[in-house]
Amino acid sequence: MTKKQKKVLYRIIISAVLLAGLMILTPRIGIENKWILLVLYLVPYMIIGYDILRKAALGIYHREVFDENFLMAVATVGALVLGVWKTGDFEESVAVMLFYQIGELFQSCAVGKSRKNITALMDIRPDYANVEGENGLEQVDPEDVEVGTVIIVQPGEKVPIDGTIVEGVSTLNTSALTGESLPREVKAGDEVISGCVNMSGLLKVKTTKEFGESTVSKILDLVENSSMKKAKSENFISKFAKVYTPLVCFAAVAVAVLPPVVNQFILHQAPAWENWIQNALSFLVVSCPCALVISVPLSFFGGIGGASARGILIKGSNYLETLAKVKYMVFDKTGTLTQGVFQVTEICPVGSMTQEDLLSYAAQVESYSNHPISRSLREAYGKEIDNSQISDVEEISGHGVTACVNGMKVAAGNQKLMKQLQLEYSEPQQVGTVVYVAVDGQYAGYILINDVVKENSKKAIAGLKSAGVKKTVMLTGDSRPVAESIAKELNVDEVYSELLPADKVEQVEALLAKKDDAEKLAFVGDGINDAPVLSRADIGIAMGAMGSDAAIEAADVVLMDDDPAKIALAMKISRKTLGIVYQNIVFALAVKIICLLLIAFAGLGMWLAILADVGVMVLAVLNATRALYTKRLAA
């Protein structure tokens, strides 16, 4: 608790004890003079309520009448006046003030706690960077480190600035950024991003960015500003609060005046002013819109915080809200649903050739080429290639390569090369890029190379379907057969292939035009040259944003790791948060309306009014803090 909160707590305790004492003692001692009672009860009343009275007075002075301080002041002072005039009942007024303050204290503690929880989740801000100076290691402010400086990251420390490792081997804990608990192995030459925690070895890192441009700064900035973009339901509540309070005040006046007048002049009964004034005062007590006003942003804040703990950064409450309404999910293929890296997926030798030999020939013959296909062959081969064994390398443009390997003439390339060599070859069943290999004028087999589908892609699409997405669409620049086979494998509903970046924008626009306004369209891309599409869609989701500034800037939702299954998780978090928001709105409004009706028609006392008011707020706040806990939601 902060100092301020403690002070309020002491005031609550002191005045509660005094109130209880007065309620027990005064009847026993037999004090019946109303004025003496008033003075006695004024002591706990002033202790608990002096600041409210002060604010109410200032409010009137500044012509800001309809605020909760004013309402509480009018209600309690009114009750005291009524006590002197008729009832002789003073404890009610003190109790109302007391409960009100307990409610406020609870609210401020709950908010403080959830704020702390969320900052703890996002505790990635590095405090210093180690730079090697004249007197050994020096700790400096990360902001002062220039690009290109070599910084030292010791085990247990956070990487303060993005950079490349120049020396050292270690494992990094990226969980604060990605929600991924598996540590990442790094060695010299690897890029590291700020915010990761160095777990084992000492690392020397050459910085590639300034602190302000580093991943950690960008993420912190994003999370801290996310509550500035308000959701529709938040705006609704603030508008509602503005109307609600004055409305209840006028209703209170009506309750105080109308029934007695009706009684006196129409029904010719006793007017019973004091009863109706008391009801009106109770009305004022219920009129504070606090439960609503606090619980809605608190829920969104919790939802955004809970999502970032799972490696999903959402740039604003409005996007969290939109996410729940996504019915069309459009994907980019390469790097989003697939890994974007070519890999050997099938080796099919003929005759006496073994798989290993075929791959070895292909890798050797292609060893001079830098083409992604050649690289993937060498990677699949995995062994050192002895260049002295390879001679007479000849690249035939658009066909392939021929070379002498171990004295044998090896050719590797596409169908055209095989046709040129007048060799019979068998075509593979599956789609992909095919490398045919011939050794000594004999067809030896083929190797199939494909962009590999991510492990979770299929699960991700299925998850989205069960999360209520109507249609999944895949856009790609890749060739038709490849695109279609991947779409079939993943159960994507629609595919558009052989698109240029500009065509992707057109496709998304066409989809946007077709759909209903209430149904939202999301585009998921890896952030590389997807920026225009990301910003065109209702909501842009960028994946694998570790270190990609463009993505963080263009997208509305950023997934920190490459896992497409996180999209469905993000939707679940969004649904849960919205669910909580609606529960709170409905619950708080229903309770308030019921209370108002009970007060007006059943003469429910001020005690119950304040209990209902504070109780609703406590429950709403507790419900709102649930939004923070996303651990049990499966990806």
């Binding site: 800001e64 605020d67 909760e68 704020r115 801290e224 603030s238």
Partner: protein
């Protein structure tokens, strides 16, 4: 130009009132107050003097919520 300021405010409704007060201040194009992060983001009109505008904003906020604080 946009700038973010740290604020101190105790109740959510008061934060809303501060937001309205800030928006109504001359020289302010738009303002948002986040009760949760205790921050105020102010977008200034072109050519407005940030210091004077912010002083006016702080004063306007004090008026609607005497207990608030805007750290300039």
């Amino acid at each position: 130009m946009k700038k973010t300021y740290k604020i101190e405010v105790d109740c959510a409704n008061c934060a809303l009132k501060m937001e309205d007060a800030a928006k109504a201040t001359a020289g302010v194009a738009d303002a948002t107050v986040s009760f949760m992060t205790q921050k105020m983001k102010v977008e200034f009109d072109e050519g407005a003097d940030v210091d004077t505008v912010m002083k006016a904003v702080a004063k306007a906020c004090k008026k609607v919520e005497p207990d608030c604080e805007v750290f300039l």
